[in-house]
């Protein structure tokens, strides 16, 4: 086989519900949803070279779309999930257009600031419970069928979404668009003089990444059965950034591994001590300082994740 690793990984993920413990099924559902979120960020970060510290805005926008539509009695996944993707994309358009006027450090701060504004907006959204957030009565349905309420069924839906996102993004980064984006990351001025308009390509990449994050948001709202401003909190943006770096940016498998590693580490550490963050914080610094290429570089036969993108 040409690509044994992704097939192996997705195959192993299919085995998780067979263990029969709801806890693990739900944990890995959450991991896969965060993997989708992390892939979407990597599309911008690893391939597009845009360091966004506000990606949670789109994750949260997807989740809140599920919440708000459920208030109005819309529960069909076939309407709600595309709507979540659309809302995230529509939000990303002005935010991206304004943020991309800047670059480097300004871009990081601006995306963070915009995400924070969205956070405060959700915070003040009284119809969705304000700072407490709101519970969802049930998961979304598919054409009147309420089968998604079962954790195993939902697990497979999330698995399918992750696979679709993975394959779709692989297509995208291998396409002409993907090469142009990569070229812009390496040398924007040169791509400009070759006749490409960098702004349009970067904005498109930004919006695509946001839409996928919106899908992840819709999935997490359905998994957790609640929506709260914590989905939009800036630590959420930080966390997903960590997943991408931990796994290896500029690859598509890396973010999946990163999401898995980070969430499992949190799960294990928090079973030892409630102060697990005191361990996580410094380990993060150590990873950044000494292990930049990510987990994916440890796998045999992989081309190394790029460390140059920034």
């Amino acid at each position: 086989m040409k690509r044994p690793l992704p097939i192996l990984l997705f195959g192993l993920l299919l085995l998780v519900p067979l263990c029969g413990e709801v806890f693990y099924t739900r944990l890995f559902s959450r991991i896969m949803i965060h993997a989708i979120f992390a892939i979407s960020l990597d599309l911008m970060l690893g391939y597009g070279g845009m360091v966004s510290f506000g990606h949670a805005a789109f994750f949260g926008a997807g989740a809140y779309t599920v919440g708000i539509l459920s208030l109005h009695g819309v529960s069909s996944a076939l309407i709600v999930w595309p709507a979540a993707v659309g809302v995230a994309a529509l939000l990303a358009l002005p935010i991206g257009a304004l943020s991309l006027r800047t670059s480097g450090a300004y871009f990081i701060m601006i995306t963070l600031a915009f995400a924070q504004i969205v956070y405060y907006f959700a915070f003040g959204l009284e119809s969705c419970g304000g700072s407490d957030g709101m519970r969802l009565a049930t998961r979304n349905t598919v054409g009147g069928w309420a089968g998604l309420a079962g954790h195993t069924v939902y697990y497979h839906v999330v698995w399918g979404c992750l696979l679709a996102v993975f394959l779709g993004c692989r297509r995208l980064v291998g396409s002409r668009f993907g090469f142009v984006i990569g070229g812009i990351r390496q040398n924007e001025a040169r791509m400009g003089s070759l006749g490409y308009a960098p702004f349009g390509y970067k904005l498109t990449c930004f919006v695509i990444a946001a839409s996928i994050a919106g899908l992840a948001g819709a999935l997490i709202a359905n998994e957790a059965l609640y929506v709260s401003p914590s989905f939009l909190h800036w630590t959420q943006s930080g966390h997903v950034l960590v997943m991408v770096i931990l796994g290896g940016m500029g690859t598509l498998l890396g973010p999946i591994l990163g999401a898995m590693a980070l969430l499992l580490t949190e799960e294990v550490l928090s079973s030892f001590t409630e102060h697990w963050m005191i361990v996580l914080g410094p380990s993060l610094i150590v990873v950044v300082l000494y292990a930049r290429r990510g987990l994916i570089s440890l796998l045999p036969g992989r081309r190394e994740a790029r460390a140059d993108a920034s």
Binding site: L45, V51, F53, A105, A113, G124, G238, V242, I285, L289
Partner: protein
């Protein structure tokens, strides 16, 4: 709205502005000189507030608490710089963001372990807890006037330090060409540690002055950090003058936004200000580096 209320809100805005300036000054200095994005600046603000609250409990004096907590935060900042941040100056911004994010997680948890999860409050000394009559019909809390005074004083001192002293000259020189300064025999490592400590002390000062007004809790620095980022972006990265103008602007817009605009829109007023500024001047009001 009558003139008294307008003036009152103007003073409130100015007070928020000078607090933001103390935060943003350190942020913009560290960025301008060391080219380092420091997300953990808010943690230093938090440390300042907690240290001052503890010292006030120990010494029983507000003034002593402030006088001791400022050098303490300065020391914390220097230790952080020597232990971790020093290795990050040559890295790209992404690494800096991630490592300083790790520092935030660390400091938040540290504070939770040492001081517990409950919010704390600092009592004001008798002399400052009343309000003064500015002119007939208008009273204003004395402590807020003190904040404005201290903020403006520190701002002036900082301006003098940067533009009229040898240290300031080295800081400015380090910002434009660090190799050259190093080659001329200045110990750039020590200079960086001093600059970082200075920024930390300013953040800590802002935190401890906010102590009696706001509650002291885990994560208290983060909303302020975000506002300070907006200030730095509007003012132009690396510019103290820009940081001051932008901080007062943001303080006033935020305060008047809350008074004049409906609740939902008011939280966006800063965003609109920033978006407008980005369209008009993407590099900020007073860009320090071309």
């Amino acid at each position: 709205m009558d003139a008294t209320l307008l003036l009152m809100q103007g003073l409130n805005g100015l007070q928020l502005g000078v607090m933001l300036f103390l935060m943003a000054a350190g942020l913009t200095l560290v960025f301008g000189v060391m080219n380092l994005i420091n997300l953990s600046h808010g943690s230093l603000y938090m440390m300042g507030a907690y240290l001052a609250a503890s010292l006030q409990q120990q010494t029983g004096s507000f003034l002593w608490a402030i006088l001791l907590a400022v050098p303490a935060t300065l020391a914390v900042g220097m230790v952080v710089e020597v232990v971790t941040l020093r290795k990050l100056y040559d890295r790209d911004h992404l690494d800096q963001v991630l490592a300083t994010y790790g520092l935030i997680l660390f400091f938040n948890e540290l504070v939770r372990m040492v001081w517990g999860p409950q919010a704390r409050f600092m009592a004001l000394p008798e002399a400052l807890s009343h309000s003064v009559v500015l002119f007939p019909g208008m009273r204003y809390p004395a402590y807020r006037l003190v904040i404005i005074g201290v903020g403006l004083g520190v701002g002036g001192l900082l301006f003098w330090l940067i533009h009229h002293t040898r240290l300031g000259m080295l800081i400015r020189a380090g910002a434009s060409n660090r190799e050259m300064v190093n080659a001329l025999g200045v110990n750039i490592k020590v200079l960086y540690t001093v600059v970082f400590g200075l920024g930390a002390a300013l953040a800590g000062l802002a935190g401890m002055m906010a102590g009696p007004i706001l509650s002291i809790e885990v994560g208290m620095g983060e909303p302020v950090l975000i506002l300070a980022f907006i200030v730095v972006v509007i003012g132009g990265i690396g510019s103290i003058k820009g940081a001051f103008v932008a901080a007062v602007l943001v303080g006033l817009v935020d305060t008047f936004g809350r008074v004049l605009l409906p609740a939902g829109v008011s939280s966006m007023s800063i965003c609109i200000l920033m978006a407008g500024m980005l369209c008009w001047r993407p590099k900020g009001l007073f860009p320090a580096h071309g």
